[in-house]
Symmetry: C2
Subunit: 229 residues, 2 copies
């Protein structure tokens, strides 16, 4: 077997250590900045510059990349386009993802109309609710379907990612049904900590918690975010 390929596989397949959550977010940010540079016609970029744009450090950039292989040229920096491509592949954003929206209330509605999802590769392919008033209704160019049909809809449309925008008390049960149907990643807007089996990824978005974090920082002396020193 070819050496480079072996190396690549050993990077892609498991035994490499788990990538931290914050590292994943940084990859996302790198891709975004690289796209902007690509559009601006920049051919190469050193870690220092990419770091400045992404709000981190040069060492962090290089360390982040090193978990996946060796993308740069010493003395030269990184070639923008190939790097963007490889990071996109690693992130899994070099494709489109069919996404399920559960909950056609206020939050679900806002998310459905958020244009950046589609422009970044995430397409809503179903909207589910359980209210008899909503199910069957034509809604923003899509028909709202009943949550009870999730077991048919998810495999039928190849869905693996769902956005959960239902009231807190319903979230756990609905999430379990999603997982039974085949969903493996959930973006959870309910202020509820979901108990999920291994192999299911959950990302919580809790806007009140974000404001409360600011409240804490402002309340506790205002001494946070002290400059580097």
């Amino acid at each position: 077997m070819d050496l480079a390929l072996t190396r690549l596989l050993s990077h892609l397949s498991s035994p490499s250590r788990r990538i931290s959550d914050s590292a994943i977010r940084r990859l996302s940010r790198y891709v975004r900045e690289l796209e902007a540079m690509e559009a601006a016609g920049e051919g190469t970029v050193p870690s220092r510059v990419l770091a400045a744009r992404a709000g981190t450090t040069a060492a962090q950039v290089r360390k982040d990349f090193s978990s996946f292989g060796s993308f740069g040229k010493r003395g030269m920096g990184y070639a923008v386009s190939p790097l963007r491509e490889r990071l996109s592949t690693i992130l899994g954003v070099d494709r489109r993802w069919p996404v399920l929206l559960v909950g056609a209330g206020r939050v679900g509605s806002a998310l459905f109309e958020y244009p950046r999802f589609r422009s970044r590769g995430f397409d809503f392919v179903a909207v589910l609710d359980h209210s008899p008033e909503k199910v069957g209704r034509e809604w923003k160019g899509m028909r709202i379907e009943h949550v009870r049909d999730v077991a048919r809809i998810v495999p039928e449309r190849g869905i693996r990612i769902a956005i959960l925008a239902v009231p807190g008390p319903e979230a756990q049960k609905v999430a379990e049904d999603l997982v039974s149907a085949g969903v493996r990643g959930i973006l959870n807007f309910a202020p509820t900590k979901l108990r999920m089996p291994p192999g299911v990824a959950v990302n919580d978005v809790d806007l009140v918690m974000e404001l409360e974090a600011l409240s804490f920082l402002l309340s506790s002396g205002g001494k946070m975010a002290e400059g580097p020193e």
Copy 2:
């Protein structure tokens, strides 16, 4: 000086080590669970139970509390109401916060109508935009004001927290104006890393990044979130 008071002050005032971001989020979650328990009439709770409800471990709960003092009774656990009160004070959520919304577009609109903000103590006291079509308009029971008046509005209404929901390219400049006006905490919905002076807290909410994180986890072997052995 009284010993307990000395101890209290040494906890409240600075030299205690900085609280991590994740610890702050957990505090927020504890408060929410404690409120539910209070409503359910539960008098005391051991760390083990609070941990289970908040999705963490008993040791983590105790460690989190220990940075702020000593709230429990050995052998008994924690008294629900007093604990909820003290944590609320620490988080700064034992009061109401006037909040500024900047950007009356789709995202701003959804945030303005999100009912949990008000119910959790955060009140929008101004909505700013710079579009001539929007400024001056009556909007959801509030009048949209011009961003240029931020330097008057922020001190006038005692605003320290702002929610930034403007397009990416405008975010940095608007954020600087907010800070000049006196804002010290920003919840940023623009997909832009803000460069801010020390003393200003920024929390980013980037929904695309959250989906991309799921995309990564699903793409990389699906071997994440492995059960604890």
